[in-house]
């Protein structure tokens, strides 16, 4: 049987990655923001508030936050935090296969280095 901690950590990592991917997809649907005047920005924020991907992304971020809090109630931060480094790998895979971004081998190497670095910082 899979322990509850492992299930919650997996849920947290998947929710965080899904949030990044959904928000990115929403912003690509809305289009490049080029006008930063207050009225144009307000219009952009209005379109963002109606975008289903962005709403789902915020929902996923909320799930990530509450699962993170739930984990901290019975597991130490030093145990939970290194796992968050996996988000970089999962979100990059999502960017490549769901958002169809071109992710070169060099970029993958950099992402893996960031992931390893975050894990080292978290474990120290």
């Amino acid at each position: 049987m899979i322990p509850l901690t492992a299930v919650l950590i997996a849920t947290m990592v998947v929710a965080d990655s899904a949030s990044d991917i959904l928000v990115s997809r929403a912003m690509k649907q809305i289009g490049e923001v080029t006008n930063f005047r207050p009225r144009a920005l307000a219009s952009t924020f209005g379109r963002m508030a109606c975008n289903p991907s962005l709403i789902a992304g915020i929902g996923a971020a909320a799930i990530h936050f509450f699962v993170f809090l739930a984990l901290l109630s019975f597991v130490g931060l030093s145990y939970v935090f290194p796992a968050t480094a996996l988000v970089y790998v999962l979100a990059t895979a999502g960017a490549q296969f769901i958002l169809t971004e071109h992710v070169s081998r060099r970029r993958w190497a950099g992402v893996c280095m960031v992931c390893a670095g975050v894990a080292m910082v978290s474990m120290s």
Binding site: I21, I30, T92, M113, A116, V118, A119, V121, S124
Partner: protein, 135 residues
């Protein structure tokens, strides 16, 4: 250029926001956080704490800038780049907050910085020609 500017401001806002939150929470730490009876008192103290308000404002600025950047930049580029915030946070924690930073912590920080440099270097990598992909 626009991407660099937005991500640089976003990263600085996030790092400064985290330092503000850390300073704010330290000033609240005299109250026993796990004593449920004192939560109202802690919440009121938090609401009147300028460090916490500054931290929340800076992290909101980070979220807005990062979301705007995603409207024109790849997630696979922007996401690892904002992790450079870890490097700034470790430096600020060591020098500004006087926290002890271990050698493994510094090694991880250097690894993150090197990884971000590699990701930035990949920003001009071209996708392979369609013929090669199909072959």
């Amino acid at each position: 250029m626009k991407t660099t500017l937005f991500l640089a401001v976003a990263v600085i806002a996030q790092a400064a926001g985290n330092v503000c939150l850390s300073l704010g929470m330290r000033s609240l730490s005299t109250a026993p956080l796990f004593d449920f009876g004192s939560w109202t008192e802690v919440a009121l103290a938090a609401l009147s704490n300028p460090w916490l308000w500054s931290g929340a404002a800076l992290l909101t600025l980070f979220t807005i800038l990062f979301t705007l950047v995603l409207s024109w930049t790849d997630l696979s580029l922007a996401m690892p780049v904002v992790s450079v915030e870890i490097v700034i946070n470790v430096a600020l924690a060591g020098w500004l907050l006087g926290e002890r930073v271990s050698s493994l912590h510094w090694a991880g920080t250097v690894m993150v910085a090197a990884g971000v440099a590699v990701v930035l270097g990949s920003s001009r990598d071209k996708p392979p020609p369609a013929a090669l992909v199909l072959a």
